[in-house]
Every structure is written in C-alpha cells, then in structure tokens.
Amino acid sequence: MKVIVCVKHAIDESELTADVNGKPILQNAQTKMSVFDRNAVEEAIRIKETKEASIVVISLGGDDAKKTVKEALAMGADRGLVIQCDPTELDTLATSYYLARAGQREGADLILCSEGSSDTYSGQVGPMIAEWMGIPFIGYARRIEVKENDVKCEQVYEDRLEVSEAKFPVLISVVSEINEPRYTTLLQIMQASKKPIENIPFQNLKGSDAPQTQVNVIDVNLQTMNRRRIMFEGEPDEAARKLIEALKKEQVINA
C-alpha cells in the first residue's frame, strides 16, 4: 500500500522573538517540522512495519522546507516531495488545494496528517485536503487499524470517543497521544540524504479550480502577559503561608 504524510515546515514558535515594535521577526526565524506532524510520520512508519507500504512525505514551502522533509525521511519515510511556493501567500484553503493535487498526482491508499500545526494551529488543512480530493476524512484518530481495503479508527472528541470506518483512499488526522515519535540517529540522518526529494513548482499543480487566498493576515503583535511575578523563596512552610495570605487578599480563595 501507499501512504502519504503531509508535514508542515513551521516556524519554531519557542524561538520566535519580537522586534522593538512587538512584531515577530520572521526573517531568518528558526524553523522545524511542526511538532504534531512527527506523530503522523511515526504512525506511517508503524504501518509500514506491519504491512508492505511505501511512504511519501509531502511538504510545501521554499528551499528550506527540504529540512523538514529530510527529517521525516530520516525517521523512515521513503521519498519526499516539496511543493515550491511562498507559503505566506497561501491561506489554508489554497495550501490544502495544492497538497490535494499533489496527493492526487501521487495516488495513495492512506493520507496522514496531524490535528493541527504547532505554529498556527488552525486544524483546517487536513479536512480541507480530503474535501478537495473528494475522499473520506477521519479526524482526531488515536488508534488506526489498517485492514485489507479500509481502516477503522478510534477518534477523540472533547467529551466522547467515536469509532468510524472508511474505505481507501482515506485521509486521517491523528492526535499526539496516538504514539511516541522516534528519535533519529546520525546514521539515519546520513542515509536519509540519499533518499529522493522531488521539487514541484506549485504552478504545475494549478488547475482551473484553484482557489484564491481568502484569509489575509493584516497585523501580528506580541501578546503581553502582565503578571506580577511575586516570588516566595526559602522555607516551604513559610512560603506556603505567605502564598495563602496573598490569595486571600486577592479574593480568589475563601478565607
């Protein structure tokens, strides 16, 4: 069987800093594979370990998106594909369109993605790809059972679990509790550099139904959290007493 995993080459939000005006410094910002996508890659590899499967990793971005694809290849994917574009010009509707067209070009039984990206966390691209491709979507899976021609999944919603089945081809988004992603060894990273990565300009995937970007980001500002940071150090007993006193004064606990 053939499995596609969609991975996002994301801004590393933990390293992202702001300039004096509170705007994010996106130029030369640190990037990484979106954290939750590692679970999608891991799940594909686990499927490959039990069934005969080939794994294609698809990402979207400039030359540096290769870094994220290589990471997935080091984990155990077989082949990579980068849709070349400026991702800041594409909203989720357009991003999902090009991923869907690349997915169709490849053809797969199973497409995996994560529930959302660690930088913007819209949770939209996965279900949108399924819709563009006209294939079933199973969201928030924490368990995937791959059968001959179909899958059975346990999905996690806020207050309940749902169990659903769908025939191939199907797109599944996974939650991070599904597995523990593996770490890669230096040897795997070196071997991954021999695995093929294909580049496709996004224009080559553009059909007459390609959408215009609808959602525009007008402004981005640092969120400030004005907290007082009053610290109680020293003896735990004394610190605990002072804390309770302070919380009573704040009227957040009952006297």
């Binding site: 529930e115 399924a130 969201g139 749902e162 509790e177 969120q223 940071r229 919380l247």
Partner: protein, 304 residues
Amino acid sequence: MSVLAYSENHDLAEEIFTGALEIASQLGGEALSVHLDDVESIRINGKLVLLTSDRLVSGNPDLTITAFSKFALERKPSVILIGATRLGRQIASQMAVRIKAGALSEVRSLKVEDGKLVGIRTVYAGKFSAKVAAPVPCIATIPAGAYEKKTGTPTSVETISMDRMSEKTLHIETKPKTKESTDIKAASIIISAGRGFKKKEDLDMLEQLAKTLGGAVGCSRPLSSDLGWLGEEHHIGLTGAYVHPNLYVAVGISGQLQHIAGIKDTKIIVAINKDKLAPIFQVADYGIVGDLYEVIPALLKHLA
C-alpha cells in the same frame, strides 16, 4: 444576508449566537442558530433552525457535516460561525472547500469592515496575536469564551428535514470517554499537575489540594497524553482545553508555550516549581520556588 451559527456544544452555541447577532446587525441581515438535535434546552433570544433527519445524526461526524453543509449551501449565508470544537473545526474546513470560502480560525472580536469579516486570533502558541480578515461570504470558528451568552426564549423555530443523506465514513459507535466528568472549563479554581510529579499516586495530594480549595484538577500534556495518569479532559493547553479560572495553580509544570496558551485569560496564576528558571514563573503572579513534595503538604497544613 443571513448569519448562521452552529455548535454541537449547547453552551458554545448560545455564546456564538451573540456574535451572530452582532455581525447580522452590521450586515443588515438575520441571525439563525442551527441545530441538529434536541432544541428544547437551547436558550437563545432569536431564530432557531432545526435540521431533522431519518438517520441518527448525533455522534456521527460525517452526517453532521453533510446535514449542516446541505442546509448552508441552500441558504447561502454571508457568514457562518462555528464553535471551535474538534468537530466544529472539521465542519468549518470541509464547508470552506464546498462553498470556496475563506475560513478564519479561532477568532474573537469579529467585525465587518469594507465587506470583510475581521477578527483577532492568537498564533505561535499564544505568543503573538494576529488580526485576520476574509471577504464575505466566509466561515469562522469561534473559541469558547469569545462571546457572552444572552439567554432568552427562541422567537421562532423552523424545522427542515434532511433525508436521504449519505456519508463517506461509516460511523460505528460513540463511546464515553472516562467515567469521571470534569468540567474544567467552568471551574473557577484549577490546580494543575505537570512532569514534576514522580508517580501517578502522588497526584492524590494534588487532588486533596483541589478538593480543599473547591477546585478542579488539570494537567499539562505529558500527563494525559504520554503518561496517561489523567484523562484527556484534564489536559490544558493548545491542544487541550482553554481555561479562564480566577485561580490557576501550576504545580510541577515547567511552562511550555503550548501549555501557557491555554491559561492566558486566567485572573491569578500561581506557579510551584523547584526550578527557579522554569518559564512558568515568567507568566505567574505568584511563585514558590520549592519542591512540590514539601510545598503541597505545607499548603494543606495552612489551609486546614
């Protein structure tokens, strides 16, 4: 020029209807609160639409989406507001492709400006906020707490039957998540545990502290997702619950951005951690640098 509001979560449905009314008045149209199940308990002051079906829709994500998008495609609304639950995000995304509209994600403070729907959302794990816009018609998912509910009695109920629906995925069953039900989003005090706890049994003292203060128990992602010491409904953060209690006590939580994203709107944040440099102290109103295994018993002693 109608504005549709939908959430399978009744509380959220009532909240986002307030947003729908605001946008409808800016657009000069009407707001409709759409439901697929029992509407008896919905207390909104406005128009209700009930989509009925010969199939059991409740719990079936695919059929919920099919019914809602079928209705929305016929009604051609200007704006569709959907509660930002997991199911809601899925519906908004699939709808967006079906009607080729933009989908704003997790937005608050919505306004119509020059034919565009404009809203504010957080990005980069809550570190930044972004102003985003999409031309009308468009879709937006709205998080809990973005609007205050204005409860009342529905002014009209329109029933529309949605028969002969088909789905691409086969729904097998709905299962309850865990036996305990914690309504963490409604709690005014939350005591939360992180990796600083050495074993599951040690959470007993945290629970005791929560009980003493009349609060709920929360946790960071590793405890629910990786270790499984607490159910996923306790998980607070970017991929878990967003909470806004009066008091949030983070015990043994280092304070990863993803966790902090879920507690930003808290009134008072307290951090207890033995690592003086833990990032959680940067966002805390009060902090105790110390071993939780000493601090919690001390707190319990002074509260007794």
